[in-house]
């Protein structure tokens, strides 16, 4: 079986160097490579589940994981390395599947005709000259995030990742609403300045 190979691959995620997720995904796309898929699953599934729980899914957290990973398996050939890193690509799929799942659970699916994929598009073709920069941009984004003061990062994470309203964040952190808004505004401003400095 190919299991052994997959496990050793997974072990390497413990090291600081991330495995070549793009190469693994290419193996899934080209050869339906289950060992490669398992390696991707073992790294991302627990993170997708954590995201789902943070977003307030309880018993449906596993459902979201399965939906996202099914999507990754079926659409691995649509991943374009020059457009986004695998973690960004999987994040965008997770976000869209979360919205779809909510639509299904709210039974609003029948009422909302327009597809989630039309509203939150995941680019599949590399047509811009700028996209060459994407991979380095991603590392840069990570570095930029690390530079944000912790209190701003906490507020940003709660809003971005946990889908909390500003009021909820204020209550959770026991700080005034204005302070939450201020921290968010500052963090977004800083990120924009850092992003733009990088682009020029």
């Amino acid at each position: 079986m190919t299991t052994k190979k997959a496990l050793s691959m997974n072990d390497s995620t413990a090291a600081t160097d991330a495995p070549e997720w793009g190469a693994l995904l290419a193996r899934v796309a080209e050869h339906d490579d289950k060992a490669a898929f398992r390696a991707i699953y073992q790294h991302f599934a627990p993170r997708i589940k954590a995201y789902a729980i943070n977003q307030g899914f309880s018993q449906h957290a596993e459902v979201l994981v399965q939906e996202v990973m099914t999507n990754v398996w079926r659409n691995a050939d649509k991943y374009t390395e020059s457009l986004a890193s695998v973690s960004t690509w999987i994040f965008t799929i997770t976000r869209n599947q979360r919205i779809d799942l909510l639509r299904k659970l709210n039974r609003s699916r029948a009422e909302i005709v327009i597809e989630t994929e039309d509203l939150w598009q995941i680019p599949t073709e590399d047509t811009t000259i700028f996209s060459i920069q994407n991979l380095s941009t991603e590392k840069f984004v990570q570095a930029a995030v690390d530079k944000l003061p912790e209190e701003q990062m906490i507020a940003l994470r709660k809003v971005y990742y946990e889908g909390k309203t500003h009021e909820e964040v204020a209550e959770e952190l026991n700080i005034p609403l204005g302070t939450v808004k201020g921290r968010l505004r500052l963090s977004l401003q800083k990120l924009r300045v850092m992003f733009e400095a990088k682009e020029i």
Binding site: R47, A50, L188
Partner: protein, 223 residues
């Protein structure tokens, strides 16, 4: 390139997938026109990827992977092509971002069966696309140089200009511009002289005409 954009908070909420569906429609439409915002959303998506990497992982059942693979295999056997993602239409904007309404409009903008509201203003209602209580979605066409009666909004009004442009008390807006107005704004947009203005508008509550036009208020078509 457009000069009026959604603010950073809106773009972040969009990237995070936490804005409302109607709001996402106007932002997606703006992105078709605006390279800067596309770039910023791309960065904010990267932020999502970075957060996914640094999240504290949850535990997954040991057999979850095997269960998934088994279900993938049985599905792949049965209904292979059917469950694939919807194919995206070949018509693709050079910006790699497709007009989100493309698949839902019966014809091109010019040939739409516009519904005449007044001599100078017509409408193509899209509310059935996003049937969320309290939201009205429509394309609006204002004849070149025509003026929309002064109105305020009971809720929020989002506009993206698809062609032409208009001006109001607060500024001049052109193709691709994104305009968000709330109940505190009272305005009477006038289409620019040279061409008809077509906009996508999303209202979170019906318009309220002010001045003598207020007599129209009970008649505003509202699903």
């Amino acid at each position: 390139m457009s000069a009026h954009h959604p603010d950073d908070m809106s773009l972040m909420n969009y990237a995070a997938g936490s804005c409302s569906i109607p709001e996402s429609l106007v932002i997606a439409m703006h992105l078709c026109f605006c390279h800067d915002c596309r770039q910023h959303v791309k960065n904010l998506n990267h932020l999502g990827g970075a957060l996914l990497e640094t999240i504290k992982p949850a535990s997954i059942d040991d057999d979850a992977f095997e269960t998934l693979v088994a279900s993938l295999e049985s599905h792949d056997h049965n209904a292979n092509a059917e469950v694939k993602m919807n194919p995206i239409p070949a018509e693709r904007a050079p910006c790699n971002f497709i007009n989100p309404l493309l698949r839902y409009l019966p014809t091109s903008l010019a040939d739409l069966p516009w519904q005449r509201q007044t001599k100078e203003i017509s409408k193509f209602d899209l509310t059935s696309l996003i049937n969320i209580k309290g939201f009205q979605v429509a394309l609006q066409k204002i004849k070149a140089g025509a003026k929309v009666p002064k109105h305020t909004h009971r809720g929020l009004e989002y506009t993206v200009i698809l062609s032409g442009g208009f001006s109001d008390e607060l500024g001049v807006y052109h193709e691709g511009d994104f305009i968000a107005r709330d109940a505190t704004h009272r305005h009477s947009p006038t289409a620019l002289q040279n061409e008809d203005c077509i906009c996508l508008t999303v209202l979170s509550a019906p318009l309220k005409f002010t001045g003598w036009h207020r007599v129209f208020n009970p008649f505003i078509s509202w699903r």
